[in-house]
Symmetry: C2
Subunit: 320 residues, 2 copies
């Protein structure tokens, strides 16, 4: 499929696995990922971009396959040493949180990113440098160079930053509301251009609310997608009514959506013409089509690279 330019709207693990399959069926340099940065957080003064790093490490073949995040063969000496300080911090301080897993080698990524941002580089520039350091040919783009923060209102906790919900509370609390807080964040010109100019746009099998949602919240993105809807293909992150990873199913339900491929179709029908669903949801084709999307059935659980490659092929066929 040489020459097909593909842009993928990406969250973390599911998107990264899709990208890894995609680059085996199109030239990596023809692939751009526009990556969610709503999860980004400042930890210990360091800028941590979980979705960008998951995409980078996965494409580099360096991701830990068990955890799905962080580096394989990672060590945790720094995190362990933080415990000593967490024990003495004053009341009210959130310094030295130890609930967020920063591996020793992973830290280097955050150190470099933070230093470069401090030198005035944009997140887009730093992300390209990090991708180059890992010898990636795929273009990884943060959705914005501005700060946009996903804030989750959870039962009994009020509004809290996404990572507090996702990691500290282990997404084990009912979500009442999700919002994207920014001071007028805009998509980068490169991200908008990639979505406009590619032959196929893929909405990766990521959480529609907190992974794809932040990208769609940026001004103009939904309009660009809607304007080229015929060649936008979404892959359902919901398989048989549950999320393969993370809280997407519960979150959809808690926020009043249907945790099914049909529910996903209702969220995406304005911006994408086709929804790719797993074989276990073959019985829902009519419901998806009734919701306003074409429906393609294939194997979507990317338990091995060959499945991810086949899925990528199916997605591209559906978008052209």
């Amino acid at each position: 499929m040489s020459g097909t330019r593909v842009t993928v709207l990406a969250g973390g693990v599911g998107a990264a696995r899709f990208l890894r399959g995609l680059v085996t069926v199109v030239a990596p340099r023809d692939v751009t990922a526009v990556v969610n940065t709503g999860d980004d957080t400042d930890l210990h003064g360091l800028r941590v971009c979980p979705d960008l790093d998951t995409c980078t490490y996965t494409l580099a073949g360096a991701i830990d396959p068990e955890r799905g995040w962080g580096l394989v063969g990672e060590t945790w000496a720094a995190l362990g040493a933080l415990e000593r300080y967490a024990a003495v911090r004053p009341d009210g301080s959130t310094a030295a949180p130890t609930w967020f897993g920063l591996g020793d080698r992973d830290l280097a990524t955050h150190l470099y990113r933070t230093a470069r941002l401090g030198e005035g580089a944009t997140l887009t520039e730093v992300t390209a440098e990090i991708a180059r350091a890992w010898e990636l040919e795929v273009e990884l783009l943060p959705m914005t160079d501005d700060r946009l923060r996903t804030v989750v209102t959870v039962s009994g906790h009020g509004p809290i930053p996404f990572q507090d919900y996702f990691v500290r509370l282990r997404h084990d609390v009912p979500v009442e509301h999700v919002e994207f807080v920014s001071d007028g964040a805009r998509p980068t010109p490169a991200a908008t251009a990639a979505i406009e100019a590619s032959d196929v746009v893929v909405v990766a099998p990521s959480n529609p609310i907190v992974s794809i949602g932040p990208i769609r919240s940026l001004p103009g993105i939904d309009e660009v997608l809607a304007g080229r809807r015929e060649s936008v293909v979404a892959v359902s992150p919901i398989v048989g009514g549950t999320a393969l990873k993370g809280p997407a199913d519960r979150m959809l339900r808690e926020l009043g959506h249907d945790p099914s491929v049909e529910g996903v179709a209702r969220l995406y029908r304005e911006i994408a013409a086709t929804l790719v669903v797993d074989r276990v949801d073959a019985g829902s084709v009519a419901a998806v089509e009734a919701a306003g999307m074409r429906c393609v059935v294939t194997e979507t659980v990317m338990s091995e690279p060959a499945i991810a490659a086949a899925l990528a092929r199916t997605v591209l066929d559906a978008g052209r």
Copy 2:
């Protein structure tokens, strides 16, 4: 020697070893160290305070005994991982320097300190928290809560930050000038009070120019020391014409001082009544006294704890 309150003006390794001996002969809670922060640097966005950390880790028994800095049993995964990024940084960027040894567990200290400073804590507060985390009873005080930077003009390089001279260039270049750059840095009230109120003040065997010099450069410090000169005792960092560690001997010579105990006496005579010198310098007693200081001869090379303890006892006797 219960009840004797001692304040030590401290740099890094030599001061830390002296402190470790001192706390075996007086109650640790009667000891305050006022520590040089002119070497402090921002690396990867993290505040690194080498002399404070060397004192902390040494007093905690956690210092690497071979290197004299950093933690024993340290690992270096993060630093190793930075190489990947150092290789791709753009021209002009100094992000991801790999010439400064930050161990994985040591990083936790810098992460905590940076986060706490970011929360608005003073360096004095954070230093006390870090000392508590290591269960130290000694009071460790930074000399100032303001930024003061030791800038070294070296032959062929112009003015550069201290760590560039000391670590990156391995202090292997002639020094033309040393200055302390700040925007009106002041000693902390706690540091000044400790120097005023203690029974004995010790000028540790640290580099007179770049370890003790920054402390003395702060307004009022030399006046307070001069006002109680009789009970201020300096330990010569120069033994037999050379520095035991670091470039003090070369630096003294290059800046027009005499790299000898007599030269040290000329630097300290206004603020200290007594200079403690090593046995190898027993022949220089008359010269030190001619320079205006009483001279005490003892073993000063703290190759083992018993020697450090004996040295501390001698120093306290000289100061009372």
